[in-house]
């Protein structure tokens, strides 16, 4: 994955590298041309000057020979040579490469020369003027070094500018991103997005706000729907329960009717439980349990075990309760109580007769394990109505409530199956 802003940076870098690479031979060519034309002009000026002086004074052939000799010693760039055939040739320009006679390490030197002819005293002389010219490979090297230096400066500039731009004009984008990342539909009722004067970001902000607000309101509606629905169900359930209580008071019930009446109790009690749990879930989601106190987990486990002792005894379960640590947590008493009740009742319900339940408190971790035969799907386990078991009493919400309460307080809930035990753990 590349960051958004690194992508143009990479492109810019490659582009500038290509352009600068192309520029190197172009610079070399241009510089060389300027050099050469400037030297040619210089050579020509020297030639004209020399010609003029040579012709204006009447030098004899011996004089010229002497001059040439002195020149050759002092100023090897200019030389006069007597031609055998007395004819005037066109001026010509040439280039020659010779080894450096003073500095053998320097290798070879390039010379730009101008050849001309002159008649003095009827004799034909050839004048050559040579000037040392920078070699093309040296120019190339120099240009390349300079170009590379500027390339580095350019890249550093790009990186710095990129950061500036990121910090400046892209800031709203990153703020929007972090707002979205930290937004939790189940917790937050408003999405706070930064104000921006960049048109695209403003449009993005608006669209996101619309989208999220729609989601928030749908979610709120759904939550209040569940709460209202279960509130509305309370009364009919209460009525059913009281009617049933009245009905069994009737004299002369036949055994058959009595049997039917008593078999209504179980589904009615399940209905009550589901409804209560739905209401509880909705209330936890709606943050309706705000009171907090420091509560002893050990104590709650103890009192829950007393509460459930009849059920444990009924199923002939052995309970191993070893709490090495004492643990107090700050939370709502009803919710912590519900969490522990649900964990325990869940373990008791799902253990076969004569099975074993292990309760352990290690540091900040509460572990409740019960014997079982095969592992359950952890993903589905904590979902509402996930129907992993087909027993008739479960509300299908017990573990969902555990998850919801844990989520509220940022406790970690986990499930493992090991050594024949379903192991649920809560890290407070």
């Amino acid at each position: 994955m590349t960051k958004l802003l690194d992508r143009p940076l990479k492109a810019f870098t490659i582009y500038s590298l290509v352009i600068l690479l192309i520029s190197i031979p172009v610079y070399v060519f241009v510089v060389d041309q300027i050099w050469v034309s400037e030297l040619d002009e210089n050579n020509w000026l020297t030639l004209e000057h020399t010609k003029k002086r040579l012709t204006s004074r009447a030098f004899t052939a011996d004089d010229l020979e002497k001059i040439n000799q002195i020149w050759g010693e002092l100023q090897p760039g200019v030389s006069i040579t007597k031609m055998d055939e007395p004819k005037l040739l066109q001026d010509s320009v040439y280039e020659v490469v010779r080894p450096n006679e003073y500095d053998s390490d320097d290798g070879e030197d390039r010379f730009r020369g101008l050849k001309s002819h002159l008649l003095i005293n009827g004799e034909s002389y050839q004048i050559t003027i040579e000037t040392n010219v920078e070699e093309a490979d040296e120019t190339l090297l120099a240009v390349a070094v300079v170009t590379f230096f500027f390339f580095v400066i350019l890249i550093i500039g790009f990186i710095l500018l990129n950061r500036r731009i990121a910090a400046d004009s892209w800031r709203p984008f990153y703020q929007i991103l972090s707002s979205l990342q930290s937004f939790d539909l189940t917790k937050d009722s408003v999405l706070h997005l930064p104000k921006t004067d960049i048109q695209e970001f403003q449009q993005l902000t608006q669209s996101l706000e619309q989208l999220v607000n729609k989601n928030i309101s749908t979610y709120q509606q759904q939550k209040s729907f569940i709460e209202n629905a279960s509130h509305e169900l309370q009364t009919p359930i209460a009525l059913l329960k009281s009617k049933l209580d009245l009905l069994i008071q009737k004299k002369g019930l036949t055994p058959e009717i009595a049997q039917i009446l008593s078999s209504i109790e179980a589904p009615l009690s399940r209905l009550t439980r589901i409804n209560k749990n739905l209401l509880l879930l909705a209330k936890v989601e709606n943050h309706q349990y705000t009171d907090q106190a420091s509560l002893s987990v050990n104590q709650l486990i103890g009192s829950s075990l007393v509460l459930f002792e009849d059920y444990i005894y009924d199923k002939n379960l052995s309970v191993e309760h070893a709490s090495e640590a004492t643990l107090s947590v700050i939370s709502n008493s009803f919710l912590l109580e519900t969490l522990i009740h649900n964990l325990l009742s869940n373990a008791i319900r799902h253990t076969a007769v004569k099975g074993k339940v292990i309760i352990r408190l290690e540091g900040k971790t509460l572990i409740i394990a019960n014997s079982g035969t095969h592992p359950l799907d952890e993903k589905q386990l904590f979902e509402r109505f996930s129907a992993l078991s087909n027993e008739k009493v479960s509300s299908g919400l017990g573990l969902a409530i555990i998850k919801e309460i844990s989520k509220k307080y940022n406790w970690q809930v986990g499930y493992r199956f090991e050594n024949g035990y379903h192991t649920l753990s809560v890290i407070f």
Binding site: Q234, T235, Q249, P255, D291, K392
Partner: protein, 224 residues
Amino acid sequence: MKILIIEDETELAQDMVKYLTNEQFRCEWVSDHKSAMEKIYAYSYDCILLDLMLPGGDGLSILKELKDHNKLDGVIIISAKNSTEDKIRGLKLGADDYLAKPFHLAELAARIESVIRRKQFDNNNIITQNELSIDIYAKTLAVHGLPTSLTKKEFDLLLFFIGNKNRVLSKGALAEHLSGDFADMFDNHDFVYAHVKNLKKKLRESDYGGYIKTMYGTGYKWEI
């Protein structure tokens, strides 16, 4: 003894009246805030059953009114809200008990008994019924003057039976009374049989009147 039921759900109120009314209790019923206020100003009751959500006003204001006028009526809040905040607020304001809907009528009757007992016998905490003598605070039972030891649950059961004389108590109601709100987490309430069996056995050994009757298919009854 007089009971005032303040409940806007007609059917439920009528069921409560039907269940509770006997030679011992007389019930009156109002369904809104205004008539409830009129009743509590005009009469006094042994126990008031108060629904918190009423047309015309909050049930808690009725409770506050009662306490402000130093009325001694026992108050049991019956609420569909089942929120701990409401419960705590109600009890702080001076309610004697709180019962969340839905509830078993037997549970309601037992709670009423308990509230009235607390109100009336401030110094005398002994319930006597023929040969049985029950000390509520010491949680002891004497049959024919001889102490009979009961477990906590058996004692609770006994009080529950006495609070629901001559009424059939279902296994579910008994389980809920013994295990509290969490009885409906389980489908098997067989432990109720065991406790009732043990209680019966102990009472029989002390030669009581054999009041506990098993009602086929439905539950038990304390018949007197």
